[in-house]
């Protein structure tokens, strides 16, 4: 392997010192869904770094293999700058020492376009021809030797999912070669190369400039050339010729391939596609919404978080802080006994009292409510850190026991949908619906995720192609989509209100959602990007791939979002100890009583909704409300401002100005619509 490192391509003009010290950069490139990550997993093993690419939000995964630094790139159909993912992939590719191009043998016509582009860029490269088993199933054959001869680079057969072909591939990497390029194109590239500034791969940069890439051209102080179309057409023709030469139909399609093709057809045919879509959404709801969000999270948050972890932390502070602990003894969901223990000098100074307290809770199912004395600055500080909304208490519980399982559940489901090839089909099915709101079908991902966690979904709006679409999706999410934390409480309250009122609530929210999208579509300048999406064949999801994707995405979300939850908690706790929170509640009381015709206490629920959306909903649960009032109150909290973490994510994704417009707009929308619903309901029923 060392010989390889020393040999280094003559084209490289990087400083020699840097070259020797750093390992070779092996970049994996391929179309979306070609099983690239399986190759990456094989080479990099378990220990990988995931980072957001600077200035964008596309993830780059890196690992080490022998003396290579292995970099995985987002799936792309070609190297250029059509979207964020392509820009990131482009820069990683342009800095490669060796390129491993993973090709889906089943989609040779599509994939070879990228391969030829990489060959034209004159990288030392190896082509891995993946999914050879599926090719055989489909009754086809590829003349690999001939393909390798035409391209001028090693081509290796592989079936990554069955771990076949990896040994050959490892050997082939040592013989990675620069491939055959058309003489005419070579001449043009050389002409541009002569004018370049020092760079890692001059031929590659030169080709990008010929193909009109403005950013690469600017790096060299050159004007981009407008020859993309001509080069693309020539490349497309060459691909078609190569495919005609190496690909042969050998036998009849086997059963597996027939099933995959039929299934693929059913998913996008209106008659069968709609039921499949509804089934998929129902399944997400059952698994993530009911099982994870309600059962798993319910258990973890209450039993581990509220009953064990939080009291543990609070007791540490209580040792030296004046505190009153109110213990509620539970039997099932009912409080059967309440007892208050006062420790004016902290628990460590009152041994006997504390023993009495411990004896009282021994063996009982209890909740402990800590009221730290607010008389000293220390007491206030403890409240901020470990109080009701404390950074070490509520925030940790929230992140570890609520958000983590939930986000993991959603990402796992998304990974399954992505891996089996259903996601682009889903996007196709809902495209019409979304285009009415100025979005295209791709927006289905953030919107679905929004029902899990609006913060997570807001971050995912990056996937959308234009800033306009990102704005629309982020607005819909933060105005009108209730997150799962809220959904559970909303569902419980709606059960109280009954079927008719649930329907009214549902229609009001749906109308708002559609109205927001439609109005923004009319107001915002420009047009949204139309759908143009490749539909990969359907196949069984690969468990290792799904697990790895879930893990990587969950990890990066938690790392990114967690700080904002802490910031949020600090702000609210500070508002609590300074009395600001109560001030806001009082400010709201007149609006709640006169305009919304709700009890004054619901003002508190609304204000708390600014912190965590389910707090808002939960606060309503205890109030005696008529069914009409439930509809009004739920409408308000659903349309009301996003939680603090979502707001922070919104600021980060869409900028402070846009975030504030959405945030302030939520106030107007929530109380405006809430008041209108109250007015209509009062006139219709004269019930409250």
């Amino acid at each position: 392997m060392n010989a390889l490192a020393m040999e280094s391509d003559a084209a490289t003009v990087q400083p020699a010192v840097e070259k020797k010290a750093s390992p070779q950069k092996l970049v994996l490139v391929g179309n979306p869904n070609v099983g690239k990550s399986l190759f990456f997993n094989h080479f990099s093993g378990l220990y990988v770094d995931v980072s957001n690419y600077p200035g964008t939000t596309v993830e780059i995964t890196e690992g080490n293999y022998k003396n290579f630094r292995v970099v995985d790139t987002p799936g792309i159909y070609g190297v250029s700058s059509f979207n964020d993912e392509e820009r990131v992939a482009r820069d990683e590719v342009l800095s490669a020492d060796i390129v491993l191009n993973v090709v889906d043998a089943m989609n040779l016509e599509r994939d070879l376009f990228l391969t030829l582009q990489l060959v034209d860029m004159q990288f030392r490269m190896v082509v891995a021809l993946n999914m050879m088993d599926a090719l055989e199933e489909a009754g086809m054959e590829i003349d690999v030797e001939r393909l390798s001869e035409i391209l001028g680079v090693p081509v290796v057969k592989a079936t990554a999912i069955k771990k076949r072909g990896f040994d050959d591939l490892e050997r082939a990497l040592e013989t990675a070669k620069v491939g055959n390029i058309e003489p005419d194109l070579q001449k043009d590239i050389s002409a541009v190369m002569a004018r370049l500034r020092p760079t890692a791969n001059p031929a590659a940069d030169a080709l990008m400039i010929l193909e009109g890439d403005e950013i690469v051209a600017a790096r060299h102080g050159l004007e981009p050339q407008d020859r993309r179309e001509e080069i693309y057409v020539a490349r497309r023709n060459r691909v078609n010729e190569i495919v005609a030469e190496v690909l042969r139909e050998k036998s009849q399609m086997k059963f597996g391939a027939i099933v995959s093709e039929k299934l693929g057809k059913w998913t996008i045919s209106p008659l069968t596609g709609v039921p499949i879509l509804i089934f998929a959404l129902w399944l997400i709801y059952q698994v993530v919404g009911v099982m994870v969000a309600q059962r798993v999270v319910g258990h973890l948050e209450v039993e581990l978080g509220n009953k064990r972890f939080e009291p543990f932390v609070k007791h540490l502070f209580a040792k030296i802080t004046p505190v009153e602990i109110v213990v509620e003894v539970l039997n099932g969901d009912d409080v059967v006994e309440t007892k208050s223990f006062s420790f004016p000098e902290g628990t460590s100074r009152a041994k006997e009292k504390f023993e009495e307290f411990e004896a009282f809770i021994e063996g009982k199912d209890v909740t402990q409510n800590f009221a730290f004395s607010q008389e000293t600055l220390w007491g206030k500080a403890v409240t901020i850190l470990a109080g009701e909304f404390g950074a070490f208490t509520m925030t940790v519980t929230y992140l570890a026991f609520l958000l983590l399982p939930l986000v993991m559940g959603f990402y796992a489901f998304l990974a399954v949908l992505e891996d089996c090839g259903y996601l682009p089909r889903l996007a196709t099915m809902v495209d019409r619906l979304f285009s009415a709101m100025g979005l295209n079908g791709r927006a289905v991902i953030p919107i679905i995720l929004g029902f899990g966690c609006v913060t997570m979904a807001t971050i995912t709006t990056r996937l959308l192609q234009t800033s306009r679409e990102k704005t629309i999706a982020a607005s819909i999410l933060n105005f009108a989509i209730p997150c799962s934390a809220q959904l559970a409480v909303i569902a419980a309250l709606l059960t109280k209100a009954g079927g008719f009122y649930s329907l009214v609530f549902f229609l009001v929210i749906l109308a708002n959602l559609v109205a927001i999208g439609t109005i923004l579509d009319k107001l915002l300048p420009g047009k949204s990007s139309p759908l143009l999406i490749d539909l990969p064949p359907m196949r069984l999801p690969r468990p290792t791939n799904v697990l790895k994707k879930t893990w990587i995405k969950t990890k990066s979300f938690m790392m990114e979002a967690a700080p904002w939850f802490f910031v949020g908690a600090l702000i609210v706790s500070t508002m609590q100890v300074t009395g600001l929170l109560e001030g806001w509640v009082r400010l709201f009381e007149p609006i709640t009583t006169h305009w919304l015709h709700l009890p004054a206490e619901s003002a508190r629920a609304f204000v708390m909704g600014m912190v965590r959306r389910d707090f808002g909903a939960a606060g309503l649960y205890e109030l005696p409300l008529a069914p009409e009032q439930i509809v009004v109150a739920l409408t308000v909290i659903t349309l009301f401002v996003p939680c603090i973490a979502s707001l922070m994510a919104l600021v980060k994704e869409r900028g402070a100005k846009e975030a504030m417009i959405i945030w302030l707009g939520s106030w107007i929308l929530a109380f405006g619509v809430g008041g209108a619903v109250a007015l209509v309901m009062r006139n219709a029923t004269q019930n409250f």
Partner: protein
């Protein structure tokens, strides 16, 4: 501006199951993107599925591409016999 031949129709007008040759794509970016998927001006494909008012799914060999309704109006094709 190239002319549109009388026997060309927009992709929007193609019925499910019909075969056609792509004649002209009126958008530079789309042209480049479709070239990558193997749908160049001059290549043939089939209308694999049409969603009511929605995208059209075009198939060429094993490659399926969903094209939004709006975009399909910018793609001129000539329907040919199967």
């Amino acid at each position: 501006m190239q002319s549109i031949e009388p026997n060309w129709v927009s992709l929007q007008a193609v019925r499910k199951g019909e075969r056609f040759v792509v004649r002209r794509i009126d958008d530079k970016q789309t042209r480049a993107q479709l070239l990558r998927f193997g749908l160049a001006e001059g290549s043939d494909a089939t209308c694999f599925e049409r969603l009511p008012l929605g995208p059209i799914v075009v198939k060429r060999r094993r490659q399926e591409v969903a094209i939004g309704a709006e975009l399909s109006e910018k793609i001129w094709v000539e329907v040919i016999a199967n």
